[in-house]
């Protein structure tokens, strides 16, 4: 892409005429004047000579910068200890006023004020925190400092410059010797600290003014090769931070031979130099990272750096090598590395704006190739990243159509004009040529715009998307094929399965992805896909129940997304589900998958064959007798749903075995038929509901009795639980304990009601005692006991009294009778006496 053109500001004033510096004589008056009126001399300092020198001597400065900075660091540290310092440097060192150069806080917490030497290159060390990479601003700052320096010196600084320029070359050799001596003397720890500090300084400097300090990058890369591993790690990470901030938003294109030969302005030269340095250092850094990735000590750091770089700058040069490194670590066995790489790739897919889609397709293709190479023995996360792909489904053609229309029209018009008016006047020619020019200009503008535009246009986008899709689906189909092969030859594979847990680990994310992107697949391939899925669903060896169920679920989902084409009845999958119900085992298989299968295949608004629906109803009812509450509930909800929808199946609730005329062709129910259509379920009866209404779980018993009464009361109250998945979740084991207690209380109440009244007092006492067990108050207990005994006493008293009463009554009666008898006797005696007289 194009380079950033340096913004032009007002050029500094023209250079003064070239006067050899020796001839310049500065009088004392002038000195005083200058000292008094500082500002007046300001303009003097905006000379360009220094920048020119800087440019010219840049190469020579390179080492100088590094070494000076190093020395500055050492110096500050060893101020106390070593006096055998480079006094020569100290002369050059000029105290800069604190206003101009902000202090730096080292790792020790001390403030160091920057010292400025005469060399202009040092100006780059000014940390003003503005972070501008505009050369001219740097210039201004440079000159300010220089102005101060000049004013301090005030005399013949140019001469001094020349002297120093000559002198410094000679100084380098002794400086190096001095440095070597210093290094030997410092202890290892101090070296460590010094290196850390150096890293920090360089990093900050680069971030502030990258163009000026591009050499420091090389320094930092040197540090990467340090023997100390911590330093290596730190330097890698700090380089990462630096690169993240200074990488430009465009891809750098190195100038060609021709361009190099051309004469260009200083700014362009500077820019080129900066870019080429950046690129070369970046390359070196990347190579270092890639080599370090193999080293187990640095693996994590290296991978993290690579991923962060790819995330931050996917458009920059060398992104392909970064991408290949990340993709190869996607399926590593180390969890952290894998997670980091997968996250990077996912963010790459989601932020397509950064790289305009090229990285997406490259990544997808690389992953597909990797799957092919490893024959699908990878960690499922590697395919999971495909789920974050986004496809733009409405790629609209904007003005392209119009353009095409316009052009031929115009040409036709032109030809017609030419044919009709061959000998036209000049006017027409002029008009035509003007029109031609106008269109040419428009075309040129459009071409330029296209070249400059970063987002790919419609045709490219479409092509990229179709390539991505084809790679994704190629991967999925390969996984499906491999799974099928492994199931067909599973008898041999069983002994020596390659991965620890799963012979086909990629199957489940593959199925997920198919479910998500199925509406984008071409209609031709749907038939093949259905075939594969059918075969996989029927693979009794090699695939566990949950996987086969998932195949069925995905098949239905694919079909549903293609419903507008044709409403296809997936017979084969229903047969599979029917048989899978028999093979389900609650501990081993996942009930949620089963509940989802119920929902998608049976409960969703599908028109079902009567025989088939009845067959499922009957088998589900039998199924719910055999398993725990959760599965039973899911099955019963499905049964209820099916019975509500298919009115004809309700004769299953009637008590006539044999079905009568509604039973269809098959006269008797075959419980072990493999095909639901031939099971003859319409001729059976749902006696299981009767058993289920006595289930220990209250919800299940209520729903069972609700279903049984369905034919009697058509307007049923709608149960809270609407889908088999929800039912399964609600009734899974976590919630069961709570429900049981409720049930106990309910049953005790029932018992209480059913006893006769006479003994009710006693039984109520029993329940009271039962309840009082939970109440931990002894006073209450004793009070209740007292009451109880009092009542008992009273009852006993009453009985005794009643008995006595009865006895006295009897006695009275006897007496009465005796009295009457005596009366009769006396009467008889009187009578006989009278008769005897």
């Amino acid at each position: 892409m194009g380079r950033k053109k340096p913004q032009k500001i007002a050029l500094p004033p023209a250079l003064p005429p070239e006067v050899p510096d020796e001839d310049v004589e500065v009088s004392d008056e002038d000195l005083e004047f200058v000292n008094e009126n500082v500002d007046f001399a300001g303009f003097l300092s905006t000379l360009d000579t220094h920048t020119i020198d800087k440019h010219v001597n840049r190469v020579a400065d390179a080492k100088k910068v590094g070494e000076d900075a190093l020395e500055a660091a050492y110096e500050k540290r060893l101020q106390k200890n070593k006096k055998k310092k480079d006094t020569e440097e100290e002369d050059k060192r000029v105290e800069v006023e604190r206003v101009d150069a902000l202090p730096v806080k080292s790792l020790d917490g001390k403030l160091y004020y920057r010292n400025l030497s005469e060399k202009k290159a040092e100006g780059g060390e000014l940390v003003d925190g503005a972070g501008d990479d505009q050369k001219d601003m740097g210039l201004v700052r440079l000159t300010k400092a220089e102005k101060r320096a000049k004013l301090k010196k005030s005399k013949k600084e140019a001469k001094r410059l020349d002297n120093e320029a000559g002198g410094e070359k000679g100084d380098e050799a002794p400086q190096a010797a001095v440095l070597a001596e210093i290094q030997k003397d410092l202890s290892a720890e101090e070296i460590f600290e010094s290196k850390k500090q150096k890293l920090a300084e360089l990093g900050l400097a680069l971030q502030a003014d990258p163009e000026a300090n591009i050499k420091s990058l090389k320094e930092m890369i040197q540090l990467c090769k340090d023997p100390n591993p911590t330093i290596v790690k730190l330097s890698l990470l700090s380089l990462l931070a630096v690169y993240k901030s200074i990488i430009p938003g465009y891809r750098i294109r190195l100038p060609t031979e021709k361009e190099l030969e051309m004469k260009v302005s200083k700014e362009v030269k500077k820019m080129r130099f900066y870019e080429s340095t950046l690129l070369s250092t970046y390359k070196g850094y990347l190579q270092r990272l890639v080599t370090l990735e193999q080293d187990p000590k640095f693996q994590h750091v290296a991978v993290r750096c690579i991923c962060a770089l790819l995330d931050a700058a996917p458009h920059f040069n060398f992104w392909q090598s970064l991408l290949s490194a990340v993709v190869s670590s996607i399926s590593s066995t180390d969890d952290i590395i894998r997670k980091v790489s997968c996250d990077t790739i996912k963010s790459l897919f989601m932020n397509e704006g950064k790289h305009g889609g090229e990285a997406t397709i490259e990544a997808v293709r690389m992953i597909a190739d990797r799957v092919k190479a490893l024959n699908c023995q990878m960690h499922p996360d590697s395919i999971e990243v495909f789920m974050s792909l986004t496809f733009d489904e409405d790629l609209v053609k904007p003005d392209k159509v119009d353009e095409d229309k316009k052009k031929p029209k115009y040409n036709k018009n032109n030809k017609r004009k030419n044919a009709e008016e061959p000998a036209q006047v000049l006017q027409n020619d002029k008009k035509r040529s003007r029109k031609e020019m106008a269109t040419k200009m428009r075309e040129e503008v459009a071409a330029d715009f296209k070249a400059a535009a970063f987002t790919p246009d419609f045709a490219e986008k479409k092509k990229m998307q179709s390539d991505t899709l084809s790679a994704v689906f190629e991967t999925y189909f390969r996984v499906l094929k491999q799974t099928m092969h492994s199931t067909t030859t599973s008898s041999e594979v069983n002994g020596n399965s390659i991965s620890a847990h799963d012979p086909h680990p990629l199957l489940s994310p593959c199925l997920n992805g198919l479910g998500k992107y199925s509406h984008l697949i071409d209609l031709d391939y749907i038939g093949d896909l259905m075939n594969y899925l059918k075969r996989l669903a029927g693979a009794t060896n090699g695939l566990i129940i949950s996987e086969r169920l998932r195949c069925c679920i995905i098949a239905f989902r694919v079909m549903r997304s293609n419903l507008d084409a044709l409403n296809v009845d997936l017979q084969g999958f229903f047969v599979q589900l029917y048989n899978l119900l028999l093979e389900y085992r609650p501990g081993r298989d996942h009930g949620e998958v089963l509940a989802e299968a119920f929902k998608i295949m049976l409960c969703d608004d599908r028109h079902h064959d009567m025989q088939k629906a009845a067959a499922f109803v009957k088998r589900l009812a039998t199924f719910s007798l055999c398993f725990g509450s959760a599965e039973s509930m899911a099955a019963l909800v499905t049964v209820r749903h099916l019975l509500l929808k298919n009115v004809k199946c309700r004769n299953l609730l009637e008590n006539d075995a044999g079905g009568g005329s509604v039973s269809g062709i098959v006269a008797r129910y075959q419980p072990d038929a493999t095909d639901p259509n031939l099971s003859g379920a319409l001729a059976s009866v749902l006696w299981e509901l009767n058993l289920l209404s006595r289930h220990y779980h209250p919800t299940i018993s209520s729903i069972a009795s609700g279903i049984a009464n369905m034919s009697a009361a058509p307007g049923q109250a709608i149960l809270r639980i609407n889908s088999p998945q929800q039912a399964y979740r609600d009734l899974s084991l976590e919630k069961e304990a709570f429900d049981l207690q409720q049930d106990v209380v309910k049953s005790s109440n029932k018992r209480k009601k059913s006893l006769p009244n006479g003994a009710s007092a006693r039984t109520s006492l029993e329940t009271d005692i039962a309840m009082s067990d939970s109440v931990d108050e002894e006073e209450e207990l004793s009070r209740k006991f007292c009451e109880h005994f009092r009542v008992l006493e009273e009852m006993k008293e009453n009985e005794r009294a009643r008995d006595e009463l009865a006895r006295t009554k009897v006695a009275l009666q006897v007496y009465e009778e005796y009295k009457q008898l005596r009366k009769k006797k006396s009467k008889k005696q009187v009578k006989t006496v009278v008769a005897a007289q």
Binding site: L523, I526, G527, M530, A565, L566, L570, I665, D675, L678
Partner: protein, 187 residues
């Protein structure tokens, strides 16, 4: 009446196979509970006046008591042989086919009448279709409430049906229950 010979049996079974596939054994081997015998017999095919009938053995035994010119039909008539020796299935075998059909097609209510008049099934009238149909397969046509309406030949596979325009023929009509009214004399 006589049982079918080799060639005829092959032809009849082939025709039935197109519709039923694996379920053919259900037709041939299903137990027949008709008749007073406690043990269920089997069903078999018998030829009477170039019509093929599907009868239980118990019934066959009793039908031998009726003379040939008086015997009109027994059991279910599934088809007839033409002069040229070809075998055609008639509408009366619909019940048998519908119970054991592999490939089914459901019609929308609006296009039921059209099919019952003898027209072919168009894609626009298709409610549902079984997966995995190949061209040339036998297909049984149902209404949306699962009443068998007739049968025919598939013109396109299920895959191709997706891409068809709404006036394309999906199933070639062979026989439907409207024939009971239209061709009363022939049956």
């Amino acid at each position: 009446m006589r049982p079918l010979d080799e060639a005829e049996t092959t032809v009849v079974f082939e025709k039935l196979l197109k519709f039923t596939g694996n379920n053919l054994k259900n037709i041939v081997e299903s137990p027949a509970h008709e008749g007073p015998d406690p043990n269920p017999g089997r069903y078999c095919f018998r030829l009477q006046k170039n019509r093929v009938h599907y009868v239980s053995e118990a019934l066959v035994k009793r039908a031998t008591n009726i003379s040939r010119k008086n015997l009109v039909s027994m059991g279910t008539c599934v088809g007839r042989f033409t002069h040229g020796g070809k075998f055609h299935l008639t509408v009366q075998c619909l019940g048998l086919l519908a119970a054991n059909a592999k490939h089914k097609v459901w019609l929308k209510p609006t296009s039921e009448m059209s099919f019952l008049y003898g027209n072919h099934v168009l894609k626009g009238g298709l409610g549902r279709i079984t997966d995995g149909i190949q061209p040339g397969d036998g297909v049984v046509v149902f209404s949306m409430s699962d009443v068998p309406l007739g049968f025919g030949n598939a013109a396109k596979s299920t895959q191709d049906c997706r891409k068809l325009d709404p006036n394309g023929i999906v199933v070639h009509h062979q026989s439907d229950i409207g024939e009971y009214l239209r061709m009363e004399d022939d049956l």
